[in-house]
C-alpha cells in the first residue's frame, strides 16, 4: 500500500512514510453520548458515504438487541474527507520557501560582504556618511559594483536590479522601522 523509508534522527525516531496513495483519506465519525451506564464513545471507521451510519460504524456495539435502535438514535454520524496529499505538498512547499528565504537572508547579511571584500579589497568599500549608523551591509555594495564594467551585460542587469531592490528595501526599512511611518 505505501512504501516507508526509515529515517532515524538523533533525538526523535520518526517514521517518514512516502504515501503514494492514501485510501485512508475518508472516514465516518460517529459520536455517541452517554447512555445509561455506558460512557460516551467516539467511533471512527474508514467507510464510504453510503455506509456511514451507526450500524456499520459502531463496532463493537455496546448494547444488546432491542436497545440498539435507541442507542443509535442518539448517535451522530458524520462523513469526513480530507486530502493528505494537499497538506503534505503545502507544508513542504512552505518549508522550502521559508528555508530559501532564510538562506538568502544569511547570504545577504553574512556571506556577500565577505566575498565582496575578498574580491575587491578593503579600500573600495566606501562608507558614506549616511550609512555610518546603519549596520546593514546592503547599502555600500552598489558602490563597489558600479565600478565594475567588465561583466557581461546580463549579469550586470541582474546586479543592477538587485541593487535597486536593496536600496528600496533599505528606504522602506528606514521609514518603517526607524521613523515608524510608512511613507518616506
Amino acid at each position: 500500500m505505501y512504501t516507508c523509508i526509515h529515517v532515524s534522527l538523533k533525538n526523535a525516531k520518526s517514521l517518514i512514510c512516502d504515501l503514494l496513495q492514501n485510501s485512508e483519506d475518508i472516514r465516518c465519525k460517529c459520536i455517541c453520548p452517554p447512555y445509561r451506564d455506558i460512557e460516551g464513545q467516539i467511533y471512527k471507521q474508514n467507510v464510504s458515504l453510503k455506509d456511514c451510519n451507526c450500524l456499520h460504524v459502531v463496532e463493537p456495539m455496546p448494547v444488546d438487541g432491542k436497545d440498539v435502535e435507541a442507542y443509535c438514535l442518539r448517535c451522530e454520524c458524520k462523513f469526513e474527507e480530507r486530502s493528505s496529499a494537499t497538506i503534505k505538498v503545502t507544508i513542504i512547499m512552505y518549508l522550502s520557501i521559508l528555508g530559501l528565504l532564510l538562506l538568502y537572508m544569511v547570504y545577504l547579511t553574512l556571506l556577500e560582504p565577505m566575498l565582496k571584500r575578498r574580491l575587491f579589497g578593503h579600500s573600495q568599500l566606501i562608507q558614506s556618511d549616511d550609512d555610518v549608523g546603519d549596520q546593514q551591509p546592503f547599502a555600500n555594495a552598489h558602490n563597489v559594483l558600479s565600478h565594475s564594467h567588465s561583466r557581461p551585460n546580463m549579469l550586470n542587469k541582474v546586479e543592477h536590479a538587485q541593487q535597486r531592490w536593496r536600496r528600496q528595501v533599505q528606504e522602506q526599512r528606514k521609514s518603517v522601522f526607524d521613523r515608524h511611518v510608512v511613507l518616506s
Binding site: R27, P33, I87
Partner: protein, 810 residues
Amino acid sequence: RRRMENPGYRSGSVDSLRHRPSDVVVEDDDDDDEMVDIAGATLDFSNTDDDPPLGSGEYFVERGSRAGSMSGAGPGRLVDPLEDPLPGKSKDRDRHREIANKSRQSTVALLHSVSDAFSGWLLMLLVGLMSGALAGGIDIAAHWLTDMKEGLCLVGFWFNHEHCCWTSNETTFQERDRCPQWQSWAEIMTGTSEGALAYFVNYLMFLVWALLFALLAVTLVRAFAPYACGSGIPEIKTILSGFIIRGYLGKWTLIIKTITLVLAVSSGLSLGKEGPLVHVACCCANILCHLFTKYRKNEAKRREVLSAAAAVGVSVAFGAPIGGVLFSLEEVSYYFPLKTLWRSFFAALVAAFTLRSINPFGNSRLVLFYVEFHAPWHLVELGPFILLGIFGGLWGALFIRANIAWCRIRKSTRLGHYPVTEVLVVTALTGMLAYPNSYTRMGGAELISELFNDCSLLDSSQLCGYKQSNSTSGAGVGNGLADRPAGVGLYAALWQLALALVFKMMITVITFGMKVPSGLFIPSMAVGAIAGRLLGVGMEQLAYYNHDSAIFRGWCSPGADCITPGLYAMVGAAACLGGVTRMTVSLVVIMFELTGGLEYIVPLMAATMTSKWVADAFGREGIYEAHIRLNGYPFLEPKEEFQHSSLTADVMRPRRSDPPLAVLTQEGMTVEEVEALVESTHYSGFPVVVSQDSHRLVGFVLRRDLLISIDNARKRQEGVVGASQVVFTEHSPAPADDAPPPLRLRGIVDLSPFTVTDHTPMDITVDIFRKLGLRQCLVTKLLGIITKKDILKHMANDCQQRPRLHPLQL
C-alpha cells in the same frame, strides 16, 4: 534629500529636484519592480516646515503629492495626467468608445472589443483563484505550525494534531484528543506525559517554539519587506483614496507577508489573520493587473480591482463572500460604483469556492465558526444583548485610545528603536502568561469556536461541565439540553475565562501595531465572545435558580432549554468587533454568514448598533481611521465636519503674504523661462493661462510631465534649445526664419481641470475633493454656464456625431 547629497547615489546628475522624474524614466526599461508597483515615485514628505499631521486640518492644495502618474511609461511616451477617479474614468470611456466604434469595422476588431469587455471578468476570476489558493495554503500551514509548538506527528511530520489522530481508534470521550501517533514534546524528549517534569518540558518547548517563530517573522520582515508589517487595511484605504504608496503591493511584500503571517499567527501572539489577508489579496490583484493592458495603464480602473480584492480578502478569511463585499464597500473603498459591486461578489465567490475545494479542514467546512443550534431567543434577552453592546462599545473606545497611545509611545520613545526585541519580549510575555490557562493557550479561532458552541450531550469540554440532572440518566428521554445547574467543571472554566478575558484585553493593546503582520478581528471577537459567554452562563444559572421570578416565569419553565450561552458569545463577539472597527451592516452580515444563524439577526443588530453608538460617543474614529491619522496619511475622512464655517478664499493659495501664483502662459515663454520657473518652486503642477495680463484659465499641467517632455524634446527633437518658444495652444504662429522651432506641449495640458469659485464654502469644496478624488482644484471666475437641460439635450443629440467645437469658437 539626504540621499541626494550622497555622492555615491547618482553619478552625473546635476539638479536634485530633477532626480525623480529622470531617475524613473531611465531605469524604466529594466526595472522589473516598477511593473508590480502601483507606479509613482516614492512620496517625499520631507518638507522642512513639518506640521505634525495629527491635529492639523490643513490640506495643502498644491503640494498634494509629487507622485505623478508614471504608470510604467517608457521614455518616449508621455504620461497621462488624468488619473484621478473621475478623469481616469473619462479616459477609459474614450478608449472604450473607440473600441466600440471600431468593432463594427471588422471581425478582428469585434473580437478585440469582446475580449476587452471580458478581460475584467477574467481578471476577477484570476484574483479569486490566486487569493483562495494562498488563503488555503496559509490556513493549512498555520494550523500545522501552531500545533508544532505542542508536539509532533510521528506518521508524517506534516500533519497537525487533528489530522494525525484522524484514523486513530480511541473511543472514549476522555481520550478523544489523544492518540499514539501524536506525541507531545515531553513524551518525545523525556518519555513521560504526566507530571511536573512533563508540564515543565512542554511549557519550555512551547516558549522556545513561539520565540523562534516570532524571531523568524520579524527578521524576515525587516530584511526583505518592511511594508509587510502591521495590518495593511489603513494603508489600503489610503491607496484606494487615490494616494500611491510605491512597493506596498509588490511581489516581495506578498511573499513575505504570506510567509510571516503564518509564523506570526503560530507564535501564539494575540493577533488574527484577516487584515493581512486583505493585504495579500490586494497584492495578488495588483500583480495580476499587469497581465492586462487595460488595467496596467489606468490607475482608476486598477483601484476598482483593488476594491474587489479587498472583498476577496475578507471573503477568504471568514468564508463570508457577501460580508466581504459589504466590508469593502463600507470600510475600505473610497469610490465604489455598482459595477465593482457585481465584480467583487464574483471574485469573492470564486475565492470562497477555491478555498473550499482545497478543503483544508477535511469536512468541507467553509464557514469558520459554524453553529449548529437553532434555539429561539426571547424578547427579554434583548436586555442582556444591549448590555453586551454597551460593553463592546466601551471596550472599543478604550482599546482605540490605549492602542493609539501605545503606538505613539513606540514612535516617539526609545521603544521604537528595538523592534525585534519588542516582538520577542511581547511573544515571551504572551507565551508565559498564556500557557497555564487552557483558554489562552489555544488559538483565537479555536477559542471562539468553543465559545460559540452550545453544549450538547456530545461535548466533553470543560465549558459543558454541567451537573447531570437525575431525570435524564434513567430513561434516556426528556430534554437533555435543558438548563442545568453548573457543575465543578463549569465553575473552573468560568474563572479561567475571566482571567483569559483580562489577559486578552491587555495583551491585544500592545500586540496590534508591532512589526509583524497582525490583524485584529479575531482578538476582538475573542474578547467579546468570552464576555458574552460569561454573561450567558450567568443568565442561564439565574434562570435556573429563579425560574419562579417574574422575568423568567413566562418563558423559561424548568426543564426547558431557554437560554443559549453560545448565542450570547456570538452577540458579544459582534459587539466588540463593532466597537473597535465601527462596522455596521458588514459586521452583521459577516456574523450571520460565519455562523449560519439567520434567526439571530435581530440580537446581532441590536448589539452592533448599541456598541456603535456608545463607542461613537467617545470618539468618532474606528481603529483604522485612528491609525491613518496617527501615521499622517493624506486621507480625507468622509465623516469629518468643520467646526467653523469658512470660504475657499480663506484656504486657497496664494494667501495674502505669499508670492503671486506661479503660472505659465499659453505662448510667449521660452524653454529656459519655463525650466527656471519649475525649478525655482516646489509645486507639483502649474496652471496655464492666456497671458500674464488676463489670467483666464486654459488648463493645468503637471510638473513631471513638463520636465519629462522638455527633457525628451531636448534629446530627440531637432533644434529645440533654451530659446525655443513653448506653445500650449493648438495653432501656433509660424516662427521667424532664424528662430528655433517651437516646442508644442498642448498634449500634456489637462484642459478640463476642476474649478470652484472663491466664495464657495469650504464644506462644499471638501466634498468635491472627496467625491471626485481630486488632488488640486483651481479657483476661477465666471466664463459661462451649463445646466442639466443642456446636458440632457446634448445626450439626446449624441447619436449624430458632432465635431467638438473649440469653446472660443462658439
